[in-house]
Symmetry: C2
Subunit: 348 residues, 2 copies
């Protein structure tokens, strides 16, 4: 058994869904199937589970025959713990040599028998919520390659989703692009990354530098943002990530119906213009050429007939491209990136 | 033996100086003697040590008779480790029931025999560089009492010294004031605190809230700042500390001869005006009434005849009180605080 913290997950995955009955609790599994279907051989569910990700239903044995190398816990039940009734499946998978991958608060080592089973088979128990040891202090040194960071007016406004949608659109336009994960679900999707909010605070910037190393000069790292400079609980994480990412481009994410900071209800959400201004001001410390290239808005809380008008008004106000990545995709923002950084002629 | 992380140090102290021969390496011990002489019963040195803190030379046995309850490692030798030749003294102190307090990178538990000795006597081995477990997430909720945070143009520009000098001046003027420590030497001086740069990044703001809890409405917490919003390596720590401290007053610290960021030499130091502006802008998130009340400058690198002119020019430029706390003390800044917050008539 290998307690790995500096993750490099082994694909393909078998996604475990426990016995959840609401999609809300299976968001991790659904995200993996949506964003890296090629890495998923199937799902495994306990009796009573009513969620179906639309991938093959496999036993542990059949998953191994199909090539599965990791069992990914794709659910986060109420309370965030590992279910007492999961033990049999987890042990069976570990016994067959599959790594067990969790992003939950509970330590996998607390599952009865699992440490011993994994030790015997050589399987790893991986918690993607744990930061790797021995990260470096940030240096602020310029790295080659291009970087985009998604930032936001608050937590949970679509920074991961937008980053993934941007990478998809970049690749569709033939660009070199890599999604760089900074949170547990992102790490499962990417197969690697660092959960920056779990990093000791001296090393936030250093972690961000490790996440997006020097690369080919036309290659884009699209880095999953965390928190917000305007969320008092988490702004330190956001600033360290901003400095360490040295973004050339920022995309601001926002939820159209959010009016208060999610973790501190007494705080009003900043305006999008304030959010852009402070992020640009702080980002200039490590990249004076940074610019904001677009706004991704989650408009799902608006009445359907109001969504287009909302995005148009925001474009009017900010002079920036505004899209809902879920319904519009990010091709228009990527067009703008092509124009600015890759000398593409502007479309009429 | 008790591995304590949430520190509340037992005074009085016996300060251990090892065998160092340069004051640079004994700064921790010197700071303790300077700022809390009432907590120090004496010093203990190994053969070859040429540093003298001017306090009684005591054996372990005599220190215990004098009431010493903790042996404080007051040196940080080259490399930051615990000397191989320290083992006898540390074990002797632990055997007599004294807690052993260290701020070094090396774990005290690595000292041969020390864990066993401390277990037997009930002494604690305390590393003040370790953050306590189970800190809360920051809430951003307003607390009663007044708060001052020292911020800076960079790391190591006198934020701890200035905070201590401010508390001294406040007390001399009959004000209620408490120094709140956020780094290892500060924690030894205060006897408690949290090393915020060792806190997991999700909890920086929460740690700052714990450090300066609600208090009497006229009481000042003077919080030791860390890092700088302009130091790319550590700005995340600084922002979380700024938000969690909810300062009413900021004092900006600066080294008169510093031109580049200490950990990132390719970065120019910000101007003091830029530093004030960004700190105020970010601090307003959790305390809209924040104001900057003065500037503390380390002028020791300037020729003596240039110091006054330098401080006067800075006052001219910023409209703020500028002092070197080492030579001038902080009484004039505290006068300004009295005027603004305690309705004292302005001195003519």
């Amino acid at each position: 058994m290998n307690q790995i913290t500096n993750v490099q997950l082994k694909t393909p995955y078998l996604v475990f869904l426990g016995d959840v009955t609401e999609m809300l609790y299976a968001k991790t599994g659904a995200g993996i199937v949506q964003w890296c279907p090629e890495a998923v051989v199937g799902q495994i569910r306990l009796p009573g589970c009513s969620i179906d990700l639309g991938v093959p239903e496999l036993s542990i044995q059949n998953a191994v025959l199909a090539g599965a190398r990791s069992l990914i816990i794709g659910v986060a039940p109420m309370g965030g713990g590992i279910g007492a009734n999961w033990s049999k499946v987890l042990n069976e998978a570990a016994a067959m040599g599959m790594d067990i991958v969790s992003g939950l608060h509970t330590d996998l080592a607390e599952t009865p028998g699992l440490v011993e089973t994994a030790s015997a088979s050589g399987a790893a128990l991986i918690n993607v919520r744990r930061a790797p040891p021995r990260l470096p202090i940030g240096t602020g040194e310029k790295r080659t390659g291009l970087r985009l960071l998604t930032v936001g007016t608050d937590c949970a406004v679509g920074k991961k989703y937008s980053a993934l949608a941007l990478v998809k659109a970049m690749r569709e336009q033939g660009m070199q692009a890599t999604f760089r994960a900074t949170g547990q679900t992102g790490i499962m999707i990417a197969g690697s990354g660092i959960p920056v909010d779990s990093v000791v605070s001296d090393f936030i910037c250093g972690a961000a530098e490790v996440i997006s190393p020097a690369n080919h000069k036309e290659h884009w790292d699209v880095i999953e943002g965390q928190g917000s400079l305007f969320n008092p609980s988490y702004a330190g994480v956001s600033l360290g990530l901003l400095h360490g990412s040295q973004p050339d481009a920022l995309v601001v994410c926002h939820d159209a119906t959010r009016t208060q900071i999610s973790t501190c209800k007494q705080y009003e959400l900043p305006s999008i213009r304030e959010c852009i201004a402070l992020n640009l001001q702080c980002a200039r410390l490590t990249n004076p050429k940074v610019r904001c290239v677009g706004i991704c808005v989650n408009t799902s809380g608006l009445a359907p007939h109001k969504r287009t008008a909302y995005l148009q008004a925001l474009t009017q106000e900010t002079g920036l491209l505004c899209v809902d990545p879920l319904t519009d995709g990010c091709a228009s923002i990527v067009d703008e990136i092509q124009r600015v950084w890759h000398g593409q002629a502007e479309l009429a």
